[in-house]
């Protein structure tokens, strides 16, 4: 954080006592994403009851729009934001799970390298256990994506008992699997019992 950014150490009382000009300058910095988290929170708190500051925010945004395109600035509508705000009051407050961090933006020039790295990781994860005899559990941990992604991406497959028997037999015969040999049988038996309602 740059030390010259808006000072986050100001007390709440001092912020409340700030003049309109200082508030507008903070809004300008917030608009540019140059306000730290604490100062941003204090400013939002102030905006809650400060209609003048809300109008200032709208106008500062309009300045940017007008500089980039006069056509966009023409669509200024004074009462719209207030109407949406009133409608939002009737909405339940949304909360995002804390475990979902921002997904970083992958630059295009990194993508080919990332693809190759992913392919190499898969090869290592699949190839190493049969060649080196490492533990299956350790390999699974290495190959697993983050839990949130796994939950979202794993489709639910409705398999018939015949297909399960076929897959179980195939797995029993196949070599180099990272799963213990009894696991497919246990899973298939469990699935069959559940389907039969036992």
């Amino acid at each position: 954080m740059n030390p010259e950014r808006i000072n986050p150490d100001l007390s709440a009382a001092a912020r409340q006592g700030d003049g309109a000009d200082d508030c507008a300058q903070r809004l300008s910095a917030l608009l540019d994403g140059e306000l730290d988290e604490q100062a941003c929170g204090a400013l939002l708190e102030r905006l809650r009851d400060d209609e003048q500051a809300c109008r200032e925010w709208a106008l500062l945004n309009c300045v940017g729009d007008a500089m980039r395109s006069a056509d966009v600035a023409c669509f200024h509508s004074e009462g719209f934001a207030a109407r949406v705000s009133a409608a939002l009051e009737r909405e339940p407050t949304v909360l995002a799970p804390a475990a979902l961090p921002r997904r970083p933006t992958a630059r295009r020039w990194l993508l080919p390298g990332a693809g190759a790295a992913a392919a190499a990781a898969v090869l290592i994860a699949v190839g190493l256990p049969s060649r080196q005899g490492s533990s299956p559990e350790a390999t699974l941990v290495k190959a697993s994506p983050p839990p949130a992604t796994t939950i979202a991406a794993t489709p639910v497959v409705d398999r018939s008992p015949q297909l399960e028997r076929y897959l179980a037999a195939h797995r029993e015969l196949a070599d180099g699997t990272v799963m213990p040999r009894s696991t497919p049988y246990v899973r298939t038996s469990g699935a069959m019992l559940m389907q039969e309602g036992r």
Binding site: L31, D32, C54, V72, G79
Partner: protein, 199 residues
């Protein structure tokens, strides 16, 4: 800090339960959304209704937004879908040319890429706004003009502007604010005159 990072700061606050932060995003993007929707819907009152619905949908969906795209790109897609659903529900024809623009939303440019159905009133207002901005920018001292252009047109961060102009970052912040105030002073009478009519 990029536009995307600036928005993300507000998005994160909304995701933590701060509705006020979403109001700021509404105030920031309402004009761009209106212009976008004006390509699909002609009536200004209907545009505002659809825009409001799109913002509410975006608010409800925000917990699942993880910043894979820019906030506006995400909002843009919600708005397009909301408008299409609205037109279908009304039994009206949905313009087809928007599909490619949705795909290209990441590179969305609000310069000339959108061709709105301009009314004479809107064209006049646009001309007045452009003249007011030019007038204000011409009157600015050079250091304020450079700072605001580097920020608003070139999209440079305060750090980058400070390096470019060889001045402290606090000075950059002050110059940008003063320049914005000067442009706002020129714009205010035009926008306040037009506030009672829906563009």
């Amino acid at each position: 800090m990029s536009e995307r990072d600036a928005d993300w700061q507000l998005v994160e606050r909304v995701q933590k339960g701060d509705k006020r932060a979403f109001d700021l995003l509404v105030a920031k993007y309402q004009r761009k959304l209106f212009r976008l929707l004006s390509r699909l819907i002609r009536d200004p009152a209907e545009i505002e209704d659809v825009a409001q619905e799109a913002f509410i949908k975006a608010y409800r969906a925000l917990p699942g937004f993880r910043g894979e795209s820019a906030f506006y790109t995400w909002l843009y897609r919600i708005a397009i879908n909301t408008a299409k659903n609205y037109l279908v529900a009304q039994g009206r024809r949905v313009p087809t040319q928007t599909s490619t623009e949705i795909e290209d939303a990441e590179n969305f440019d609000d310069g000339e890429s959108l061709r709105t159905e301009d009314t004479p009133d809107r064209m006049l207002l646009s001309k007045q706004v452009a003249e007011a901005v030019n007038r204000a920018i011409e009157r600015l001292p050079e250091e304020l003009r450079t700072a605001i252009v580097l920020r608003e047109i070139e999209g440079l961060s305060y750090d980058e502007i400070a390096v470019s102009m060889n001045c402290p970052i606090g000075t950059v912040r002050s110059r940008i604010f003063r320049a914005r105030e000067a442009v706002a002073e020129e714009l205010r009478p035009i926008l306040e005159t037009s506030k009672d009519r829906r563009w």
